[in-house]
Symmetry: C2
Subunit: 332 residues, 2 copies
DNA sequence: TTGAAAGCGCTAACAC
DNA sequence: GTGTTAGCGCTTTCAA
């Protein structure tokens, strides 16, 4: 079996020859069937299917000048926040015959820049999620490229924000209603747009309520580092802990449990992203984000319109939904 | 800003004109610099860098006949087992200037077939992880393609197995040593190679030991379904539970806890994959698999050698390592 | 050491 | 409705 030859893919010309038609006719059978006699289309498609013909994307891209490829750049594919986004993007792209190229930057700015360069050359547009680039670089790099951002709120760009504003606001109101007076916000990575938004909402919601707020941050956002910050989190004897995301919330529940503090009996905990919410004990109250919707919308946006034109700057915020489970209760 | 034009990428011809050299010279500056006067190479590279020239992958692929693209097909990108594999594959592919196209099949056979067809056309080789295709179809589909499998042990193909054999065997021996006599194996998806391997090792290890084994399965492999199967899992009052993966192990720990059964005091639990091991209470004893190594090896294997030739059939098993944490103890 | 020219597989005017 | 032709950007003989 070793040494066997890989079968060369059949080309349009070969199919054309066999059928006694011209190459362009075969091409049209796939790209503009309505220009052909239905019968011809049938005949060609049948023959093509039989020989296992699949159009060569490179030839097509070269000929049309538009690579039907969309680059999707994420900081970390292993972060459970992104796979659903990637999935939705791919499924949506499929509908229009596009391919999504995934790239992972490790949250590293240099790598992000290089990735943008590289993908620019082979994609008709770029979708960049949670970009870490400083504004200046970002403007420069994207000045003459078709780029759409997800979760980066840079003015004058096309961007989609997966927002927790409404849901988190509602959640905070509920917590206040339940009599909570000492809050802790356990934030995530510095410079994350989501973290900024959430921190802001928590502050706004509490302003003038008489409740106290302790605001802190777990830069790595990991379970282990959150556990390690237990003392700091519990320093002010909070009655409610709002976590940047579900991973942190999960750790908070566990550290509370370690100290014999009942959740939600003594302390209420809320997470965000709804990624692990069903695997905590008790099940975590969290905010389900419109990640898949954002990806779908992103792909549809970049796919429509002339690829030779920049995207129209606009800001779209998709509001998530509060999912009430079992980690929130009245104080006391 | 809307309506602004996307900058057209500079081509080899433009650079050649500006420098007063021929297009082939510019091409050679990138593909065969040793054929050129070092000084010329320098001049060309500088000019190219300045204009932001990046070779057009499509043109290159068309011209050389080899698309420097590797297709990587996984059942579910959201399964925490795969992102580290994807990451490692991409980083390795980068080294040789290759691009990895990720596709997700949803564990669906039809979709897997379509994906293989589609990727074949634009990749020089395919890496397929945890393929669900029946053997016959798999042989047919792969008969004349450059394909390498990960975690699918089909004879006469090139395959890499991320094995837990040694580590799990060692773990079982340890459990026996500690006096365990009633075991449950809580398996995963039907047809998974990993599940078959693990189930087999558990059976072999216990054969002739006098210990009893209850073997079951959570087809979906989810936390929720595992919780729901609590009665079945605990029916035989096991002293040790071996789980197909960490997600199931996590659920087992939680359901044991719900019933007031101490881990590892009364029951020992071991997981596999080492994906969530650090976020359980107590920390889960698990098996760290060589997933990233497998991906690296897979990419290196498909990248080397003539792309016109099939891969040499071979079977490589990469052994994982037992990571002892806190969910295993002596019986009693 | 460099240039000229052909051609990869496909699409898109433009003919017929 | 279908065929002819030119060309997308690049690599690669073959000549010089």
């Amino acid at each position: 079996m070793s040494g066997a030859r890989v079968k060369k893919a059949p080309t349009i010309v070969e199919i054309a020859h066999e059928l006694g038609v011209s190459p362009s006719t075969v091409s049209r059978a796939f790209t503009a069937p309505r220009l052909l006699k239905p019968e011809t289309v049938e005949r060609i498609r049948a023959a093509a299917a039989e020989r296992g013909y699949v159009p060569n994307v490179h030839a097509r891209a070269l000929s049309t000048g538009v690579p039907r490829t969309i680059g999707l750049i994420v900081p970390d594919i292993a972060n459970p926040f992104f796979p659903p986004m990637i999935r939705a993007a791919q499924r949506t792209a499929e509908e229009t015959g596009h391919t999504v190229l995934i790239a992972d930057t490790d949250g590293d700015v240099e790598r992000e820049k290089r990735t943008i360069e590289r993908l620019t050359a082979q994609s008709e547009s770029l979708i960049i999620a949670s970009s870490r680039l400083p504004s200046a670089q970002l403007c420069e790099l994207t000045a003459r490229r078709r780029v759409l951002f997800i979760n980066r709120d840079e003015p004058e760009t096309a961007r989609i924000l997966v927002s927790s504003r409404d849901a988190l606001g509602q959640c905070m109101a509920r917590l206040l209603e339940l009599g909570h007076e000492r809050f802790v916000y356990v934030g995530g990575p510095e410079g994350s747009w989501s973290d900024g938004e959430r921190r802001g909402i928590v502050e706004e919601s509490l302003a003038g309520s008489g409740a106290t707020l302790e605001s802190m941050r777990i830069p790595s956002g990991t379970y282990a580092d959150t556990m390690a910050a237990a003392d700091q989190i519990l320093a002010g004897s909070p009655t409610a802990v709002v976590a940047f995301d579900d991973v942190i919330a999960h750790a908070v529940i566990d550290l509370l449990h370690d100290r014999g503090v009942s959740v939600p009996g003594a302390v209420s905990v809320v997470g965000c992203d709804d990624t692990v919410a069903l695997t905590t004990q008790p099940p975590l109250t969290s905010i389900a984000l419109k990640v898949a919707d954002a990806a779908r919308l992103a792909v549809r946006t970049v796919v429509e319109g002339q690829v030779s034109e920049m995207l129209t700057p606009q800001r779209i915020a998709l509001q998530g939904e509060l999912v009430e489970r079992a980690t929130v209760a009245a104080v006391g």
